[in-house]
Point group: C2
Chain length 472, copies 2
Amino acid sequence: MHWQPNRTTNLSLIMQIRDWMLTQISSSAWPVQYRLPSQRQLAATLGVNRSTIQEVIEELKADGILYSKIGSGTFVASSSWDLLTKQQQPNWQRYIEAGIHKPNYETIQLINEFEQHDDFIRLSTGELAPSLIPSKQITASLQSLALDGKTLGYSSPQGSLKLRRAICDYVKSRGIDTTPEQICIVSGGLQALQLIALGLLETGSVVFHEKASYLNSVHPFQSFGMQLQASETLPFLPCMPKHKRAIAYTIPTLNNPTGAVWSLVQREQFYAHCVAEQLPIIEDDVYHELLFDTPYPALKSMDTTNQIVYLGSVSKTLSPGLRIGWVIASPAVVKRLADVKMQMDYGSSAISQEIVAHWLASGLYEQHVKNLRRVLQQRAQLMENYLQPFQEIASWQSSRGGFYIWLKFNEPIVTTALFQQLVRRRVLINPGYIYAPHDAYHIRLSYAYASEEELRHGLTILLEEAKLSLRK
Amino acid sequence: MHWQPNRTTNLSLIMQIRDWMLTQISSSAWPVQYRLPSQRQLAATLGVNRSTIQEVIEELKADGILYSKIGSGTFVASSSWDLLTKQQQPNWQRYIEAGIHKPNYETIQLINEFEQHDDFIRLSTGELAPSLIPSKQITASLQSLALDGKTLGYSSPQGSLKLRRAICDYVKSRGIDTTPEQICIVSGGLQALQLIALGLLETGSVVFHEKASYLNSVHPFQSFGMQLQASETLPFLPCMPKHKRAIAYTIPTLNNPTGAVWSLVQREQFYAHCVAEQLPIIEDDVYHELLFDTPYPALKSMDTTNQIVYLGSVSKTLSPGLRIGWVIASPAVVKRLADVKMQMDYGSSAISQEIVAHWLASGLYEQHVKNLRRVLQQRAQLMENYLQPFQEIASWQSSRGGFYIWLKFNEPIVTTALFQQLVRRRVLINPGYIYAPHDAYHIRLSYAYASEEELRHGLTILLEEAKLSLRK
């Protein structure tokens, strides 16, 4: 018995040992009624913990392949042969476990799932409430679309020229002077990150980011062997590593999850630093329209060196269901990202592109965003009111815009246990550890989704559960 | 001078040597007016061809960094220091070259580009002509959509439940009995392949396919280290490799590019073989509605073992611009693919999903596809007529449906030179070598895109150029 599990693959020890045992049985090395070596013995021979062996054996007993007799050991069941020869499905579980892309965090998978249930209060959701999405106006605007057969065909690699032209005009107000050649339409900001990961970086490349970062909650870089590197300083000033490609990711206006907004000086300092280091920047600017005050200029507006890959989107402001965002970067970079996008999904929805082009060009978008800002500001104030009772156990900064308040508890109580306990009470939160590994102090609260009554009720439950956690 | 270029990276020798020379200059190892070693000497020391050195030097001369004096050699220019210190842009070219995802074939990049020019005759385009896309009906149907704020929010991981239910009903006519839990909406069939590559396979996994295959024209698998393996036999009967994950990809109905249709016996044989091998199957069924005769059942309709990941789409039948396709597979597989999709783009366009749900459920789709088949059959006949003069130099099979005729020349004349020569004459073809490496005999012709007059004129030019190639 010289086989041992391989610890360098993605396959779990349990899957490997299970498979090895099944082979022992199907090859008749362990015939029907064979008594297995003791768990202790197996653990020693395979070089694994006894609990691992135990788990595999329990699984195979549940499948009817093995059975145990108290006091005499574990045996190969008479029915095992039948079961094994009938079991001709591909072993999909192994395919799934071996896959290159990381699964979502379990917490995020759970959030995605619970969000489908209408009876949850969503205290953290990173999107507009259905009532804030101008669905009637969007429906009405469909009649203004001039859809012809050409528009409804395959898109050009960089996306609709009409939309790219409308974006050129739109971003002028953000201080960005660009051309359609420097724009690539994407299916939302997240896809832009995926394109950057696959189009511009390689295994081992470094992605710098702020300590609490949206990047930790998704895997566009980690799945392909890029290293995330957090920095405590703000605005963080990373150094270009030697002999490696690197890029810095930041949301300078209304950071997700912290809501932070960089000052003008911080922006200038950061940009100058990255220029000196020849370090490219991803500027994620998808929240800027939602700043309550006059916004500071985008980093991209200072970009005389083609340093910046700029991301914009309508997902946070108009409708995430449209799946439309844009990248603005040097023509060579845009061409590369567009080429990768053509190989991933042949472009974004033509109708969504038409809608966004219409909203931008007609001024509907600007008007809508102006109203939205006012409503969000009222909601932010409301949440702050409801947060007052938290003052003895937590602290926060008033929101300057967007969706979020980054609530910080005085004690490290934001654990999976708290998350689960809240789920039991039908309240969904995004715990801080999604955004900053091992952070047990924060919750990303959102005032953009839940109704007034839900906010009040949800925060009351959160307060109760937080206090219970403190007592433990 | 011990540095030598690294031949194991993605970076070209030229990029590496260029960078090394710039470092020599900026570090003052080669100060201003320094005379470089001879090209022969540099080539020997760096272990590269002299032509490579020559190319780098020409580039740096063009940049004003170096200059040559006839008879006395190459020197570092006085202006180089200024140029170098001003040249603080990130070296994007290096980022682009190092990126993980393969670029599209140059030929395909060119095709994508030329397709944007209206003066080309597109003899091979794999999409419906704008006139065959029911754009007026689609525009009209927008008024039937019930878009509310919820629909326009972020999608559930597997996509719109309404659309998934409509697909369940629709695929019944294809003999497929499924549930919404076994369906994941994707942004077209190509994205499904990307999700399978990243979600179910690993580096080194094997993807079996027919010799001439759509898979060769895109890179969802190759970019992540999976090996394509072609098989000559039809239906090909691959064996599951030992110690590796593998999957078989096929288009059993109206193969792209060959147009082949597997018989019922071939389908049964292939499925039984893959079951015995426990080899999973990707059944790409995006052309089946376009078969002129009664279609054979989908492989998926025989699938009692959850062997098959089935792909459907409206891109070939209704509008590629909608970017809507679907995967039907076991619930565990679908859940995994949906989880990866959520990390790649947070779902497909909500409006596109609503449109397709409406077209499927209302019967509009079935009616449209029925008309479309008739029109395509007429176009196929037309192309065959225009192809008659090719009989002395080429052969082909009559089309049984879809878009394509896989024209085979008697001599290997379908080269990049022929492609380029046709581009000069404003005719675009998809040469066979895109689909089967080194194939110089075939062209994938399409009767679905060009107008009658364009088909006639384009094929006349093709005939002239083919005959010229034969004389060379």
